[in-house]
């Protein structure tokens, strides 16, 4: 029997020492430094205080690495603050809760079944490029309520919309997405609006919607669509890939879910806490203030470091252990407060159905080779996922 590579499923806490001493970390990002907030309770207070710590700064500035140099369009509702934010969020919430519908889940199940069945037929498969990316892209057709044919275009873009092998911020690649969205908006405007609401896609819904009594502009529609495409791409791919990595070294936990399917929600929440698929998100201070007794200057950046907060030993017992019996799990993998993740319902549904289906179909997962994706964040190095994870799956 082939020995499995060690520690594929291990994601160390990169922030422990700094969290317990100062509570803040430091990183530079394109000459726009970031104070990283590491503890859960402090992070939540800052996330909630959108008056002092705003999202509605220059478009792209709250993202780390900053996208100011490659994007002018404001992502909506993500880069707005209340009260402006509220109307957009109210418009979008019902659409993004559709994954709770049975019909949506049945279609998602077909995608997941096909993805796993395809993987089981291969000797080995790269989970990142040939499993997680196609699954994420095909599932996105459901979220947008559009044709499955569209997925291949999005798969061809690669795992991160703004990143290529040569650069963390690839303007040419970002323009592919922006040009695509512009073209889709123009095509939708040229068509007659579908008379049957269930056949309408998100572009059409947004172009015909009003917020606070005003129709959305093309730029606002574009802002929502960029968020929808970009926000749920590498995050979902990381979550799927890391889940497979976890079960490759903990196959008995997958068997347990087959025997006890009722624990799947807890299992998914715990995996999300442990992996924290998105490391952090920024805010910009609107005034001189303090965090953890450190001065924060007006117009400087802080980050809400979800990955660190999810390992806060003051909140989670045995924070570095994956424990499917963790019944209280106040993780912040989907953010916190006004800006909690719009796509969380969709992401959770993918993961719950994926884990249940793996449990029912897969007997073993063997890693053939792996290339870890390590983020360099100033003084910290953090494993966030994999660039490549080649595995062989064995059917039940």
């Amino acid at each position: 029997m082939k020995a499995k590579p060690k520690a594929i499923s291990q994601f160390d806490d990169a922030f422990s020492q700094k969290r317990s001493t100062s509570g803040l970390g430091d990183m530079d990002d394109q000459n726009d430094p970031v104070k990283m907030i590491l503890g859960l309770k402090e992070l939540r207070k800052v996330a909630h205080n959108c008056t002092t710590f705003q999202s509605g700064s220059t478009p792209g500035r709250i993202v780390i690495p900053s996208e100011v140099a490659i994007r002018d369009t404001r992502q909506i509702p993500f880069e707005l603050d209340p009260p402006e934010h509220t109307g957009f969020r109210q418009l979008l919430n019902p659409w993004f809760k559709r994954p709770l519908d049975n019909a949506y889940q049945a279609k998602l199940q077909q995608i997941i079944d096909n993805t796993i069945d395809h993987a089981l037929q291969q000797n080995a498969i790269d989970i990142v490029a040939s499993f997680a990316l196609p699954l994420q892209s095909k599932a996105l057709t459901l979220l947008l309520n559009t044709s499955m044919d569209r997925a291949q275009t999005w798969i061809d873009w690669g795992t991160h919309v703004f990143r290529s092998e040569s650069s963390n911020l690839d303007a040419d690649k970002a323009n592919i997405l922006y040009d695509y969205i512009d073209a889709e908006i123009d095509k939708t405007m040229a068509k007659t609006r579908p008379s049957v609401p269930t056949t309408e896609d998100l572009f059409s819904v947004l172009l015909n919607a009003e917020v606070d009594g005003k129709k959305l502009t093309k730029e606002q529609v574009k802002g929502v669509m960029i968020l929808t495409f970009a926000g749920g791409r590498d995050t979902v791919i990381n979550a799927i890939t890391n889940t497979i990595a976890y079960f490759s070294e903990n196959i008995s936990d997958l068997q347990r879910i087959a025997n006890e399917p009722d624990i799947v929600n807890r299992a998914v929440e715990e995996l999300l806490r442990y992996f924290s698929p998105l490391t952090q998100m920024g805010r910009v201070a609107t005034e001189d203030t303090t965090v953890c007794e450190h001065a924060i200057k007006a117009d400087s950046r802080v980050s809400l470091c979800w990955a660190s907060a999810n390992r806060d030993e003051n909140v989670f017992s045995n924070p570095n252990t994956v424990d499917f019996d963790r019944k209280i799990n106040p993780h912040v993998s989907f953010g916190f407060s006004h800006h909690n993740c719009l796509g969380a319902t969709h992401a959770r549904q993918i993961l719950r159905q994926l884990v249940l289906t793996l449990a029912n179909k897969v007997a073993d997962i063997n890693v053939v080779s792996a290339d870890e994706n390590i983020e360099q964040l100033g003084e910290f190095s953090r494993k966030v996922g994999f660039n490549r994870l080649e595995v062989s799956l064995t059917a039940k």
């Binding site: 807890r266 963790r326 019944k327 209280i328 799990n329 106040p330 912040v332 989907f334 969380a344």
Partner: protein
């Protein structure tokens, strides 16, 4: 078996009954508007915020630290707020009315 009433923000009222699980799960199973229970009941999402009738609050009990930390930063919190994923369905809550916060 416990029978409870949920009053929603659009002034709807729904009587539901159950004998196990959490109050959030009971609400979601019956499609109570304003109770999403996104995280499945692990106290991570705060999408199951309800108000307990003051007369019943002692019987239901106050929130534990993790739950009260979540509620503390909810704009709609009152002294009678609870996340209903942390309330068990049991005879203890039979006959109570809960107002959905969202």
């Amino acid at each position: 078996m416990a029978k409870v009433i949920f009053v929603t923000q659009n002034n709807g009222s729904m009587e539901v009954e159950g004998d196990s699980g959490s109050l959030m799960e009971l609400a979601v199973a019956n499609g109570v508007a304003g109770i999403d229970g996104d995280c499945g009941g692990v106290c991570s999402c705060a999408t199951c915020h309800i108000y307990v009738d003051p007369a019943d609050f002692d019987k239901v009990g106050a929130a534990q630290e993790v739950e009260s930390d979540m509620l503390e930063l909810d704009d709609k919190v009152t002294e009678y707020s609870r996340l209903c994923c942390q309330i068990d369905v049991s005879d203890q809550i039979d006959g109570m009315t809960f107002v959905v916060a969202n």
